[in-house]
Symmetry: C2
Subunit: 313 residues, 2 copies
């Protein structure tokens, strides 16, 4: 089944200890849709300016991502973000943000877009997320991301918005900030009571955790000796995760657990090179090989300990 | 097979956000041996003073822990530690340390102790760890713990000592400090090149990681909504881990993976109450039930993604 994402499409300038790029394709909806495109047909809703050229459009086209709802404003420029990372690659330092056409972004959904069954409300202003959500009549499953900024300045709107989503996908700091509770397990309970029955918590180098009716599930991050550029890791995770669910047309416990792994797989590839470079040329063989590596690094046999064995020694 | 531990036996005074205890049984060898005693016969090597009474000895006796090598110095007092924890229960604040009889501790091993096949060199001065290790003629597998203090002030001795151990069990900060490398996976490679073929990294609320010839394995921490007293969690982990290996008389990949889980199980019980209170009255049924919970929260089916399934949608 097809999957819709609304979010930012941007140009990024990124500096890391391993190198830099002055202007490359970025944005949450970009990273999300590239990762998701390996699993399901994806439609991207966003806005770009006249500087968004054929080279960028080709990255979407090569992965068969539907860009009919990617609005183009000839009088403006594309959202631009400049950031840097220190050796501890966990924290992005924003050096410059030029919202440009994104400042007045009002998602406009085509009638076909409104019939999409799987929906990802990427990190945009919560009022807009809610409008998009309400306008989609064909939805079966809706997931949402957000960020510390909206928890700070649009808290009430965000709380209103998450009442009507099935899955919330945020990082651990955001979980603590939104719930006001430092213990992750208590915090997860509080957030699930606000609406989303399923909560996915991204924990960076520590992996991710899933809280559902069925219980708690946790996965590690893929062990990387060098992270090249962390930009878009969370969006790639969400893309792999939602793409897998859209492909399977359900979110039962077994499926959602595998979706978590595919999310982590896509995030791990994303950070190996700058921007979208690595994911754009991925293959299904590479994806499945890394999925099997996740099995290898988490598997153990559930053989209970038999205290009587002691006597035999 | 039997298991020997050398380390501190102490009185602890602990204050946490949930309460306090003025004087309770503690010490690395105490927590280790209690946890290990559920899996294998344990012998503890340490020193106590005249204030160490029948009540304390009974805690060991009830778990059939051999205390023949627990030296008693009538003219001195037992090692005393006073510490507190804030709401973030990850960091212990030391308020008072009275080494007492532990200051001049020279482990004295009986001839029976020297024939122990499984050995845990708890966190004591590295010269002493090396002496104990060399004096044990019957050893089959030796593991070692240490702390930031010894990496700071006895680095050369520690590096000499770990040349002759099979397994090193330390936390992530110590891994980074000892290797001088911030990336955990690179750091693990460096430390394994120093001697210990197997490296176990304790990561507190993020679980633990295992690095061996066979590869990388990672486990989460047990999800606790409230940690009561973290003192001894690392030692309980090591006790469950080594006890399980001693019971199975080997450390092949499948066994060591389950040992990691039993370590995490014992650590999770340890922190539920003050000091040794919870572990001292544990049952094998409780231990195995929690082991199964770990399976539940990490298991997923390794079904590879079939890209062709998309066409059927």
């Amino acid at each position: 089944m097809s999957l819709l994402v609304v979010g930012s499409v941007a140009f990024d300038a990124v500096q890391t200890p391993f190198g830099e790029r002055e202007k490359m394709l970025g944005g949450s909806a970009t990273h999300f849709s590239l990762a998701a495109s390996f699993f399901a047909p994806v439609r991207v809703v966003g806005v770009v300016g006249s500087d968004f050229g054929a080279t960028e459009m080709k990255v979407f086209a090569r992965r068969n991502i539907n860009t009919e709802d990617l609005e183009r404003i000839e009088s403006g420029k594309t959202f631009f973000w400049r950031g840097s990372y220190d050796f501890d690659l966990n924290t992005a330092h924003t050096l410059d943000t030029q919202l440009n056409v994104f400042a007045d972004f009002k998602p406009k959904l085509s009638s076909e877009a409104k019939r999409t069954p799987f929906v990802f409300l990427g990190n945009i202003q919560p009022d807009l997320q809610r409008e998009v959500n309400m306008s989609i009549t064909g939805k079966k499953l809706v997931a949402l991301d957000t960020m510390n900024l909206w928890i700070d300045i649009a808290r009430d709107s965000l709380i209103e918005t998450i009442k009507d989503v099935d899955i919330m996908i945020i990082n651990d700091a955001e979980v603590r900030q939104l719930s006001g509770e430092p213990n992750l397990h208590k915090a997860a309970r509080l957030i699930r009571a606000m609406g989303p029955k399923t909560l996915v918590i991204k924990r960076g180098e520590y992996g991710a955790a899933l809280f559902t009716e069925a219980g708690y599930f946790t996965i590690p991050a893929y062990p990387l000796e060098s992270v090249f550029d962390p930009t878009g890791a969370g969006d790639s995770f969400a893309g792999g995760f939602m793409g897998y669910l859209a492909n399977h047309e359900n979110a039962d416990d077994a499926t959602i657990r595998r979706a978590m792994i595919y999310g982590a797989v896509m995030a791990s590839f994303n950070v190996e090179e700058f921007g979208t470079e690595r994911v754009a040329r991925l293959t299904h063989e590479e994806i499945n090989a890394r999925f099997q590596e996740f099995k290898q690094m988490t598997h153990f046999e559930a053989v209970p300990f038999e205290p009587k064995a002691k006597a035999a020694l």
